[in-house]
């Protein structure tokens, strides 16, 4: 590194700028496999999927183009519309609640409480379980005959009724409960790390100025934690779009089709219905949804980046 640095200062520039290709050559060689993977598998696979979503492929991919037929069928399918609606409800609520609950828990943990390690472990522990296990546990807890409802009834409230998984209208909230239980611990840890990164002097200054604690959190600390919030947002959002295993374990889409999600539609139509074209069309729609959210955000976040740094 020092050699390079002296090079730049002593030798006058020969050709505009230093050769970018040969800088850090070994690092570039090392990253070739990953770059190939990204281009061939991710990008290539995506383009392939989009291309075949315009075909009538059944069990095997075949290039028989049918125009937009698959998309027309997709958007006419009640199950797909229910899936989209569920994803929207699940997404919005899981985003809001996991952020709010995660932050509040982290703020409480940050009050120099006793047994912080124990609490942190307790809250983070559900994250160590897979979605399948989480789904099964909550399927049992929410089962009216074995779970919460029967326990409360046994305690004397005979009229108590709580069976979200068997009510088409609210089943998606039953899934949301399980997802929050599993995911907020991680959000709390990320937030806690962010809070610990805030300089102690800020707090002292706020105290000197007599600003109440909640105001300090809201107007000083949270804006300073912007990078942590962005990271958390990306992690939660990607979890929302691909939600699949939780639904399979908890309700397998039921009752009826009331808790279906897009990822499950894709899988079921690709493999169970042996209709690849339909599955590809659905996954392309998922990609577009993600792109609509990600692209403007990425533009704002990274496009104007140079000015800030």
């Amino acid at each position: 590194m020092t050699g390079q640095a002296t090079d730049r200062t002593t030798v006058p520039r020969r050709s505009g700028r230093p050769n970018r290709l040969t800088r850090n050559l070994s690092a570039k060689i090392a990253s070739i496999p990953m770059m190939l993977t990204a281009v061939v598998i991710f990008l290539g696979g995506t383009l392939w999927t989009v291309l075949y979503s315009f075909t009538s492929s059944k069990l095997l991919p075949r290039l028989r183009f049918v125009g937009l037929d698959q998309y027309e069928r997709l958007w006419a399918a009640p199950r797909w519309l229910v899936s989209i609606e569920n994803l929207a409800i699940y997404g919005i609520f899981s985003l809001i609640f996991s952020m709010v609950i995660g932050f509040v828990l982290a703020a409480l943990m940050d009050q120099k409480i006793r047994f912080e390690n124990t609490f942190r472990t307790v809250f983070l522990y559900p994250f160590a379980l897979s979605f399948i296990v989480t789904g099964l546990v909550w399927q049992w807890l929410l089962n009216p005959e074995h779970g919460i409802q029967s326990v409360v009834r046994a305690m004397g409230w005979a009229g108590f009724s709580f069976d979200p998984l068997y009510d088409s209208g609210i089943v998606i909230y039953g899934i949301l409960i399980a997802a929050l239980w599993q995911g907020t611990g991680l959000v709390m840890c990320l937030m806690l790390a962010g809070l610990r990164g805030i300089d102690e002097d800020i707090w002292k200054a706020a105290r000197v100025d007599g600003i109440p604690m909640w105001k300090t959190y809201l107007f000083v600390v949270i804006p300073m934690m912007r990078p942590v919030f962005v990271t958390t947002l990306v992690i939660i959002a990607s979890g929302i779009v691909r939600v699949y295993d939780l639904v399979v374990a908890q309700t397998s889409g039921g009752p009826g089709i009331a808790s279906e999600v897009p990822a499950k539609y894709v899988y079921d139509y690709m493999f169970q219905a042996q209709n690849l074209g339909q599955g590809f069309a659905a996954s392309t729609m998922m990609l577009i949804t993600v792109a609509i959210i990600i692209v403007p955000w990425a533009y704002l976040e990274f496009g104007g980046g140079r000015k800030r740094v």
Partner: protein, 411 residues
Amino acid sequence: MKFRSAIAALAATVALPVAASHATDLEVTHWWTSGGEAAAVAELAKAFDATGNKWVDGAIAGAGGTARPIMVSRITGGDPMGATQFNHGRQAEELVQEGLMRDLTDVAERGKWKEIIRPASLLDSCTIDGKIYCAPVNIHSWQWLWLSNAAFEKAGVAVPKNWDEFVAAAPALEQAGIVPLAVGGQPWQASNAFDVLMLALAGKDTFLQVFQERNAEVAAGPEMAKVFKAADDARRMSKGTNVQDWNQATNMVITGKAGGQIMGDWAQGEFQLAGLKAGEDYSCLPGLGVTEVIATGGDAFYFPLLEDEEKSKAQEALAETLVDPKVQVAFNLKKGSVPVRGDVDLAAANDCMKKGLDILAKGNVVPWTDQLLSADSQKQKEDLFSEFFANPSMTAEDTQKRFVEIIAAAD
């Protein structure tokens, strides 16, 4: 069960170097993993091993919906097994068209399958462009209403003899705190229960008009409207089932928590396992007691095209073994299904099985929806009927309209 098959697979790999010198290993994949099913598979394995080859068990746990994608991707991905189970019909159609499956016409002609396999529609389902591609092993029929005698006794009504009596008895059952009709939450259960109602109440001609000819007019007609009304009854009677798997629903009938269940003859294995006796503890009504016609769905083995000559020969041996009369009896008694050939002796069959054999002997059979519709149309039907059964606000008329659309677009 998964564990046991894993051990079996492990043992097979250990035995492989020893066995390879004189026998050919053939991996066979299937989704028969419940107690009775595994016992039935063991019969096949025993018979195949006796031909001097070696059966390598490739059981995949978790019913056909889980297993089929794995099997298909192994065949298309260039890692084919020696033989694999499918429900015969259209599940393997495209694999055959792509030339990935082996033509068994020679074996079939040598074994005179055309003459011995009954009903003929079974072999038709294995035939594509005049060539035979699969060996049927059993007949499973869906058209059964299983009734708990104890539940009706408790409700104080006679055990019904047909669907209408059953519907009439429903209020009495409900008053006794019994769910009249158990329908599990898995989508295929609702969809197939509807197909059974349709065949029983609208009759064979309408059934074939709709599913074979894909006649949208008949599907929209008054005959079908009656079926949808009956489905509406069934939906009301199934309220409060709250279980997912079919065997849990069957268990409700066994324990008398439910009055009855529309389910295929594999449910009988559960009744037997619970120690109940046909006619005394439970009753069965083929064709819902209305139209005594049964469908001939079932299982068959398909053989992927292999380059290894030794293995190809072993495939032939397996195909011959599967339709062998002795193997057919041993396998089907354990499985609870009916053999694919009429010339075998089934003295050990129970009352319900005998009813099925009778109907079969009279030739009152139709091909089942797995044979008539593509997996795609079947899945759309499943989506429709699982929604219908779970959502009381969905009217029978709207459902019929959507059903007509599926039939009109079916392939």
